[in-house]
């Protein structure tokens, strides 16, 4: 191998290494686990404090009068989690709506920072909130 090839090889190696390292470290902060309600209920301790996207069906949706604070429950296959959210919700967010909640699980329920409602029909964007 010539001197030049070694130089190119080392440079490429360092660059690729640096990129991969950066990618990996930022990926860890940017990722969220996509979980269904029953999976989380099965072992709640494992998921507490982690960033989650929780998939389930909302029901028992209530709003504190004159505020934007919502309390509701999400269910998937007989497993139920209490959840809270403050802010504007999508129109399709109501009882029995299929939702994906972004947020964290705490011992007293799921604190959502974002609510996405799944589309009732195909090729239809839902509103993004939060």
């Amino acid at each position: 191998m010539t001197h030049r090839n070694i130089k190119i090889g080392v440079t490429a190696f360092v660059l690729v290494g640096a990129f991969t390292g950066l990618l990996w470290s930022t990926l860890a902060e940017g990722t969220e686990y996509y979980k269904h309600v029953d999976e989380v209920v099965a072992s709640p301790k494992q998921w507490e404090g982690k960033r989650l996207q929780l998939h389930g069906f909302a029901f028992d949706v209530r709003r504190k009068p004159d505020t934007l604070e919502y309390k509701f429950k999400v269910r998937n296959k007989d497993s139920v989690i209490d959840a809270t959210y403050t802010g504007i919700v999508p129109d399709t967010f109501k009882d029995d709506a299929e939702v994906v909640l972004q947020g964290r699980l705490t011992p007293d329920g799921f604190h959502a920072t974002g609510v996405m409602a799944k589309c009732p029909s195909k090729y239809e964007p839902t509103q993004k909130v939060g």
Binding site: T26, E29, G30, Y33, Q102, Q127
Partner: protein, 821 residues
């Protein structure tokens, strides 16, 4: 009619296979007649697809609900425009539209190149026909848009999804498809060159314009999608790194890379493998994009539904493309060797290479992050998702790096740049950047420093471009002795691609300028009852009233909001929610936007409580958003200049390039849209059941309240309106007297002075004009482009030696510019 459509698709499929086989066999046997018959069959595909499209549109227009697709995406009350655009509103139709466009573009490309690149044509025909066959196959066996109901037809359709009933959505898909489909042409020519072994740079020249054309429409489609998201989805932003958006962005990156690296091959005969690879990858990514959004592989908020069978078909097709394309590249590798080596890293070709690597990295990164949930599920079994923060962490620094290259690139000479010439040329742009930085720091300090960097780089880029134009003009003025303007026009027309490219770069700088505004955005969510107000930034917002109206197709709930800036009322906005009869689950958000060049004030009616009239608002202040749309207008203008054929230039310069001017005008129309929207909201009659005569109700909706609210009588929201009550009483009295409609209108015009008491006449007409405009522009530019292409192909033959002289002159001009002090 449905069976006619199916029959046409089948016939097209057969003709396609004939075109592919006949041209390949003809080329191999050297039979000119067979090749010509193949080409003829290829033109026939266009004719057949045109008829099939006409059948489809006719089915929509005549409300033929026996066809499933029509029943699913249209209904009787749908406005005419949406009936036509429903053609590409769903999966099946969009595939058909795809084939239709591909057949048109293919025929055009083959027709214009039939003499100059005779040896390539048979294979171009074959490759395009094969792509068409795949999509036709999809339609015939799996997604037939002409499929009918087995049982009786429904009485009415389901209607187009409300969110798609928006003017931007009407032009966004065709534009994006034009970009996507157009990328097939360079691919077909590249493959033809590989198959025939004619790997000189001729095929590149044949596809150069097609790539630019497709790139322009791809960019246009992306921008339209952004505008649509901004106006219709109502979440305050325009780009959310959704898989569907990303899918369209991927080929854009590689196409941009190709546009740059192709110049290196033309100039220095380097990067030949690379260019072929980029063409293949770009085409491949357009198919991947379609696949991602149509098959349900990646979960998205607005993907078409899941469809494993479609996914399998697409996977097979994609594998085939990859194996075939790269197999050909490897087979021809000996012929693709570069004729020159890179001489120095401080050269323009090196800058292009870095630019290419960065763009390719962007494409790779976006693909990786988009596929990450699917990948992680496959590898670890856990579904991990990455959100916008991940993209936003990575891509802005890379974008800034690209912007820096945009600024530096034009200053570098081909082959090798000396440090001293680079330094001399950097002085003016660096001063511009420094001035911008100082201005920024003195205004806002070091807060939001990424925006500071971005603004400075924008100034650097602009400085470079202005300097390039200035120097070029001066050199030319010295040579020809003409005035500045003539010299400038002469300069641009001598090297349209280069200076058109600079203008496009200027557009990029403007867009980045707009992006940097995101560093200052604000968002609030608030619940107000009528009369209450709230403060966001410098704005005070007062919520006045909530109105419910209905126009037969949908129920509209509109909030009336007054916006104050520094204590002065500056605007009234009408954010609304519309519930379509057929889609009551999914009301659409109609955003209220006050646009200025400095910032947009953006208000969304998030929810409401009918019982106490309370409304929930989302308020956004989005600085510099309009620069993004404006920047695109500039890009379109620059690309338009680059696209102009040589011979038409002197003629066209007097009239401005057609696509550029058209798109710029279209985007300027953005500024006018609030006015259109306002009127659209206030049409329709009041649903509050009051026992008044129909005539009176009708006139209440047509006569304007004169208190200054700009609303109709039945819609005036002013709390202390001095005009509504007397006007209404007068109207009531006139109706009771038994006057006719015209008499009453006359009376009003006479008593209240002037036509401005009438709200209606402008309404419908202007709305329609605004709708028609994009179509006229689109049709106009298509005709113009076709005309120009034909003209170009003819002229080239006459002046065969002209291109040969051109590079030498370019080089000289380049050198002169370098030597200039």
């Amino acid at each position: 009619m449905a069976s006619l459509g199916t029959l046409l698709l089948l016939a097209t499929f057969v003709v396609c296979s004939y075109a592919a086989v006949a041209s390949v066999v003809g080329a191999r046997r050297g039979s000119r007649r067979l090749v010509e018959s193949g080409t003829g069959a290829f033109y026939l595909i266009t004719a057949l697809m045109t008829v099939a499209s006409a059948v489809m549109i006719n089915a929509f227009l005549t409300d033929d609900f026996s066809i499933r697709y029509v029943a699913h995406y249209s209904d009787r009350v749908q406005p005419l425009f949406y009936k036509i655009t429903s053609y590409w509103g769903g999966l099946d139709g969009s595939i058909m539209f795809w084939v239709f466009l591909l057949s048109i573009f293919g025929s055009l490309a083959v027709y214009t190149n039939r003499e100059r690149h005779r040896e390539l044509i048979p294979y171009v025909v074959a490759v395009i026909s094969c792509v068409q066959m795949f999509f036709l196959f999809l339609m015939v066996v799996h997604k037939n848009p002409f499929a009918t109901f087995l049982t009786g037809a429904p009485a009415d359709g389901e209607g187009l999804t409300p969110a798609l009933q928006n003017y931007w959505m009407v032009i966004h898909p065709p534009s994006l498809y034009t970009g996507f489909v157009g990328m097939t042409i360079p691919y077909a020519f590249g493959m033809a060159a590989l198959i025939t072994g004619h790997l000189d740079d001729a095929w590149l020249r044949a596809v150069r314009r097609w790539t630019m054309f497709s790139w322009l429409f791809l960019s246009f489609g992306l921008v339209l999608g952004m505008i649509w998201a901004y106006e219709e989805l109502g979440w305050g932003g325009y780009w959310a790194w959704d898989p569907v958006e990303n899918a369209a962005l991927l080929p854009w990156f590689t196409a941009t890379a190709f546009l740059h690296s192709v110049m290196v091959q033309e100039r220095r005969s380097m990067l030949r493998v690379w260019n072929v690879t980029l063409v293949i990858v770009t085409f491949f990514l357009t198919i991947v994009g379609t696949f991602l959004t149509r098959s349900g592989v990646v979960e998205s908020v607005h993907a078409f539904g899941e469809d494993p069978q479609l996914a399998r078909m697409f996977s097979a097709f994609m594998m085939l493309i990859l194996v075939f394309s790269f197999g050909m590249v490897m087979y021809r590798l000996p012929l693709l060797r570069a004729r020159h080596e890179l001489e120095s890293w401080a050269s323009r070709e090196a800058a292009f290479m870095v630019n290419n690597w960065i763009l390719l990295f962007c494409a790779f990164f976006v693909l990786f992050a988009t596929m990450f949930p699917t990948l992680s599920e496959a590898v670890t079994g856990e579904r991990l998702t990455v959100g916008p923060p991940f993209f936003n962490q990575w891509l802005p620094p890379i974008g800034l790096l690209l912007l820096f290259l945009t600024a530096i690139g034009p200053l570098l000479a081909w082959r090798k740049t000396t440090l001293s010439s680079l330094r001399d040329q950097l002085i003016f742009p660096a001063l511009a950047a420094a001035a911008m930085a100082i201005g920024y720091v003195s205004l806002v300090g070091f807060r939001v420093w990424p925006s500071l960097v971005c603004f400075s780089l924008c100034a650097l880029t602009t400085g470079t471009i202005v300097q390039e134009f200035w120097r070029g003009t001066n050199v030319r003025r010295g040579a020809t002795g003409s005035d500045h303007l003539t010299a400038l026009i002469g300069l641009v027309s001598r090297n349209k691609r280069r200076y058109g490219g600079y203008i496009a770069h200027l557009g990029i700088a403007l867009i980045m300028f707009g992006f940097a505004g995101k560093g200052f955005e604000r968002e609030e969510q608030v619940r107000l009852t009528p009369g209450q107000q709230t403060v966001i930034g410098d704005y005070t917002v007062r919520y006045d009233a909530l109105k419910v109206t209905d126009d037969g197709q949908k129920q509209m709930i509109t909030a009336h909001v007054a916006v104050f800036l520094n204590g002065q009322e500056v605007d009234r906005l009408y954010p609304a929610r519309w519930s379509y009869r057929k889609h009551e689950d999914a009301p659409t958000t109609e955003v209220g936007i006050r646009r200025t060049l400095a910032e947009d004030f953006y208000i969304v009616l998030g929810g409401f409580e009918i019982e106490n009239q309370a409304a929930i608002f989302q308020l956004n202040v989005n600085p510099l958003v309009n620069w993004v749309w404006l920047g695109f207008g500039v890009i379109a203008f620059g690309t338009g200049i680059g696209l102009l054929p040589e011979t038409v230039f002197s003629f066209a310069i007097a009239k401005l390039p057609v696509p550029g001017a058209a798109t710029t005008a279209l985007l300027l129309l953005v500024m006018m849209m609030p006015g259109v929207r306002l009127k659209a909201e206030q049409g329709g009659e009041n649903v509050v059941p009051i026992a008044i005569k129909p005539l009176e109700a009708e006139l209440q909706g047509q006569i304007m309240c004169l208190c200054g609210c700009r609303a109709m009588l039945n819609d005036c929201a002013m709390q202390f309106c001095h005009s509504k009550v007397p006007q209404k009483e007068r109207l009531h009295a006139l109706v009771e007297e038994g006057k006719t409609r015209d008499e009453i209108v006359d009376t009003f015009v006479k008593e209240y002075g002037g036509q401005d008491v009438l709200g209606a006449p402008i309404d419908k007409g202007f709305n329609r004009l605004a709708w028609l405009f994009p179509y006229l522009v689109g049709a106009g530019s298509a005709v113009g482009m076709g005309f120009a292409a034909v003209r170009l192909s003819r002229r080239r033959e006459q002046a065969e030696d002209a291109p040969a002289a051109d590079p030498a002159l370019d080089e000289r001009l380049d050198d002169e510019l370098r030597d200039l002090d």
